[in-house]
């Protein structure tokens, strides 16, 4: 039997513990969303082993953690590039160029949605509303960094700085 917790670094465990502490003692499972994000940040994506390790740490059935990991669309169940770009194409963004921004990135990178560049640098995803429609077009870089008003010039700049 391997110790599943070996899957997660001490730093990750520390961060997860901080999340667990937010909830009543008998509600560790509440921390699963944050814990999966912490694990994803560390590993790049969520393999079944990683998900099982998180489930084990929080005392959940592995499938219960997998349900969560597969339900929320910012978890990556497959490896992604170093930079995951998620472009919102929903209607309010599209009215201000969201779809065109996505098309522009596709052309620049030579990939379609859900594809990764050959050099493993970029993965492109189509996003749903990010709650920033006033800043359209918007895109997320690696889930946590929101970029606003992404017209061609700004996109060029972003792609250039993602090394």
């Amino acid at each position: 039997m391997t110790n599943q917790n070996d899957m997660l670094s001490p730093e990750a465990i520390k961060k997860i513990d901080r999340e667990v502490a937010k909830y009543p003692a008998d509600q560790k499972q509440s921390a699963v969303m944050a814990a999966l994000v912490i694990a994803q940040d560390e590993k790049g994506w969520l393999s079944k082993e990683t998900i099982a390790a998180v489930a084990g740490y929080l005392g959940m059935a592995p499938i219960a953690a997998y349900e969560v990991a597969s339900f929320y669309n910012m978890y990556d169940l497959q490896p992604v590039g170093k930079y995951k770009l998620t472009v919102c194409t929903n209607l309010p963004c599209a009215l201000s160029g969201g779809v065109h921004a996505a098309d522009y990135v596709k052309e620049k990178l030579g990939i379609d949605f859900n594809e990764t560049t050959a050099d493993g640098r970029f993965t492109l995803k189509e996003g749903e509303c990010m709650g920033a429609c006033g800043d359209a077009p918007v895109m997320l870089v690696n889930n946590k960094r929101m970029c606003s008003f992404m017209l061609p010039e700004q996109i060029d700049k972003l792609l250039a700085e993602c090394k």
Partner: protein, 786 residues
């Protein structure tokens, strides 16, 4: 009570009822898929939408609580339009190829589509395809057919106690699945087949072998554990094709264990004995019944004549029917032998002669759910009595406190209030500590005999925690129950454990009882299949070899407390007459005559379950080959031996004589022991064996069921130890180890780490060919690296 109206009919319903429950009370059917009375309410299929007066929208009958004066319309235009709309949605992505679906003919979706579906669909897009999942050897999947009702998911989480299935992804891409690479391993997995309203989950062993309308159905009773689950046995051309639960809220509810559901495959085993056989000059010959019976009767008569009746021993399977046991004991007693027993795995018989009656559950099975405090003593509960574990699991959720005292901390998937895990030799001492602690909490004097129990030897704190839990129940423990499991009954100090449980129940004002190991653990007593004064019990007649044995339905090398000794004694005996549905190499080695008898499915008979309930059944199929019901074979043998009282025309007549009529429950149920002497000595030198009887190895039938033998619960035996014991023996998990039991025989097994075992204990399964050579289930072992 509330008064409501459903489709113009007025009725009274209990507060808190839902519309669907109220409608059920009235006999009004509301179509539904996700709703199931034993599962939490999901309200997701939306098929049960009905109209409620004043509600602007149709309401789900399964989730809408009834209010006083509510008027419900289940067939109004609004209701039917909603139901038809839902049916259309259910069908757009469901394959409409019922003729090639295994569920065809018994599919709720198919049935309801007839009533609520249209002949054609406006949905002309491509249908969704969902990849199938490998759930193991028992449940087959066709996930494209899944309608996401989530019954199977809720079953694993709520009834089986561990969420093995989930609904991953979302929206139209949602799919029911186990965790990646996992199978569904609960011992109750087959129930998800019954629960699945469509053909997404079907029986792997049964798949595509018959259509439901081709099958004949017979009610029957499970021949396995002491619960006596009610069955529907389905046959085609006299072959059992499938076993399903017959709902009985007092016993199995609507569930079956996988063992009960799939053991029928063993009925068609290649090892079925289909012709009488006799051994002549060391050679086995198939012979006519008359020859075989003649041979058997002569053999027994010869031994009785030469050596006296006491030279014959009778070993009866506790899975044999009441009628078989009754006639077998009558036959042996007719031959002047008192050596008769069905308690094959028992090792402590010191209570014999002191019992006030037949040991039993001590309560109704249904009453288990009413206990608010429970102490389970010596039981691999989840595997030995899965449906009792299930009842306790639900009790715990309702707030009952469950505790366990045992020698292995297997995950019962029950929320436990307290647990004490101790080596087998220490179980009596820990239980004594529980008794003392309860006495102290109650402010009464404990049995002075318990004073000498060595403090420091056992985990007193764990005992105190159990005691505190028991006493904290209503009225200081009046609703508490002490349940002694198979391990406690097989324990070398079983009588002491029983006496201590009796004391404990007495102090609490609660009850105590035994979880019957086998289908007829109570029936054997009722059939008088135990020795009376002067007779030898099962252990004694093997320890002290007899000249002849009559074996009914058992494989003593696997079914007795000391299989190695049983094998030796049988091999030595001059004549072993075996009545069995199966033959095995061991049998061919030791027997003189093999009489092919019917398994439970091919004979009428009776099992008396652990609560004393008399459950008779008819044959579901004709006997295979030349096999014959054992009660008939025993009757003829009695006649051939010129014994009196064998003139029975039916198994019912046998039952009537055995039970003195046709009672619903047998009489004489009493767990009391008069003048029990407590044996509280402990600590043998060396590593103690903890022997479980794995769920799929407990009896000859299940051992021959191929699909079950591939299940996770059928893994090959290992030598399990905790970290300290492994370290002490210089072992690592996975090492091959040589295990000996004092004698020369040794077996080689892989060592396996098991954190749930106490120190100084090696857990090695019994009832398995790989471990027979180790001998007694309770013993001291030597372990060394192989």
């Amino acid at each position: 009570m509330l008064e409501i109206e459903i489709d113009g009919k007025t009725l009274q319903v209990a507060d808190g009822s839902t519309i669907i429950e109220a409608a059920h009370q009235l006999g009004t059917y509301i179509p539904h898929f996700c709703y199931h009375k034993k599962l939490s309410i999901a309200a997701n299929c939306r098929m049960c939408l009905v109209q409620v007066e004043k509600a602007p929208k149709p309401m789900p009958a399964c989730a809408t609580p009834v209010t006083n004066g509510m008027k419900v319309f289940t067939h109004s235009e609004l209701a039917v339009k909603a139901q038809k709309g839902v049916m259309e949605f259910l069908l757009i992505n469901h394959p409409l190829d019922c003729p090639i679906c295994d569920q065809g003919g018994e599919c709720q979706l198919q049935d309801l589509a007839v009533g609520y579906g249209e002949s054609a669909s406006q949905y002309q897009e491509e249908k969704r395809v969902v990849p199938d999942k490998d759930l193991g050897p028992l449940v087959s999947t066709d996930m494209t057919r899944c309608i996401n009702c989530t019954r199977c998911i809720r079953f694993t989480a709520e009834i089986a106690g561990f969420m093995e299935l989930g609904q991953s992804f979302r929206g139209e891409r949602a799919e029911v699945m186990p965790f990646i690479g996992k199978t569904v391993d609960t011992e109750l997995s087959g129930n998800i087949i019954d629960l699945c309203p469509v053909g997404a989950l079907t029986s792997k062993p049964f798949r595509f072998s018959a259509r439901t309308w081709e099958l004949s159905r017979r009610k029957s009773v499970s021949p396995h554990d002491g619960l006596g689950s009610n069955l529907i046995v389905q046959t085609k051309h006299d072959r059992v094709m499938r076993v399903l639960p017959l709902e009985n809220e007092d016993i199995n509810e609507c569930w079956l264990t996988d063992k009960e559901r799939f053991s029928y495959q063993g009925l068609s085993s290649a090892e079925r004995l289909t012709k009488p056989m006799v051994k002549q000059g060391g050679e086995w010959k198939e012979v006519d019944w008359s020859v075989a019976l003649d041979y058997a009767s002569h053999a027994l008569r010869d031994v009785a004549k030469t050596h006296g009746g006491a030279a014959i021993g009778g070993l009866l399977s506790p899975h044999a029917t009441l009628e078989e046991m009754y006639l077998a004991q009558k036959l042996l007693r007719g031959l002047d032998s008192e050596n008769i027993d069905f308690r094959l795995r028992q090792s402590d018989f010191s209570a014999d002669g002191k019992r006030k009656g037949t040991p039993w559950l001590g309560m109704k099975i249904a009453d288990i759910g009413r206990l608010d405090r429970v102490l389970v003593v010596g039981s691999f509960l989840r595997k030995d009595h899965p449906l009792v574990a299930q009842r306790l699991r639900q009790s715990a959720k309702r707030g009952a406190q469950i505790s366990i005292l045992h020698s292995a901390d297997d995950d019962l998937l029950i929320k436990l209030a307290a647990r004490a895990i101790a080596a087998p030799s220490q179980l009596p001492a820990v239980l004594a500590e529980v008794v003392k602690a309860v006495a102290e909490l109650k402010g009464v004097a404990a049995d002075p005999a318990l004073a000498k129990v060595g403090a420091g030897l056992v985990d007193v704190n764990a005992a105190k925690k159990i005691a505190a839990s028991l006493v904290s129940g209503s009225d200081g423990g009046k609703c508490a129950g002490i349940l002694l499991g198979n391990f406690a009954q097989q324990h070398p100090q079983a009588a002491t454990l029983s006496a201590l449980a009796q004391q404990l129940a007495g102090l609490l004002g609660g009850s105590f009882g035994f979880l019957g190991e086998a289908a007829n653990s109570v029936g054997g007593y009722a059939a008088k299949a135990i020795p009376t004064a002067g007779g030898l019990n099962a252990a004694a007649m093997l320890k002290d070899p007899r000249h002849a044995y009559v074996v009914v339905g058992a494989e003593p090398e696997l079914d007795c407390a000391d299989g190695a000794q049983a094998l030796a004694s049988l091999t030595k005996a001059a004549a072993v007459v075996v009545l069995s549905p199966f033959k095995s190499q061991a049998m061919l080695d030791y027997a003189a005559v093999l009489l092919p008898v019917s398994p439970f499915s091919e004979t009428s008979g009776t099992f008396v379950n652990t609560e004393g309930r008399v459950q008779s059944f008819y044959a579901a199929a004709k006997p295979l080959g030349e096999a014959r019901p054992a009660w008939k074979v025993l009757r003829v043998l009695g006649n051939l031996l010129d014994l009196n009282g064998f003139a029975f025309n039916s198994s019912e007549e046998v039952r009537a004589e055995a039970l003195d009529g046709q009672p619903e429950f047998v009489s004489g149920l009493d767990n009391g022991i008069d003048g029990a002497t407590l044996n509280l000595t402990a600590s043998p030198n060396g590593l103690e064996r903890v022997a479980d009887v794995p769920i799929h190895f407990s009896d000859p039938l299940v051992r021959r069921a191929p699909a079950l033998q591939q299940a996770a619960d059928s893994a090959a035996p290992t030598a399990r130890m905790n970290a300290a014991t492994l370290a002490k023996c210089g072992l690592a998990s996975g090492d091959k180890v040589k295990v000996g039991a004092g004698g020369t025989a040794a077996v080689t097994l892989p060592a396996q780490f098991d954190a749930g075992l106490p120190d100084g204990v090696v857990r090695i399964a019994a009832a398995h060919a790989d471990t027979v050579a180790l001998g007694a289930m309770s013993s001291v072992l030597s372990v060394e690296k192989a």
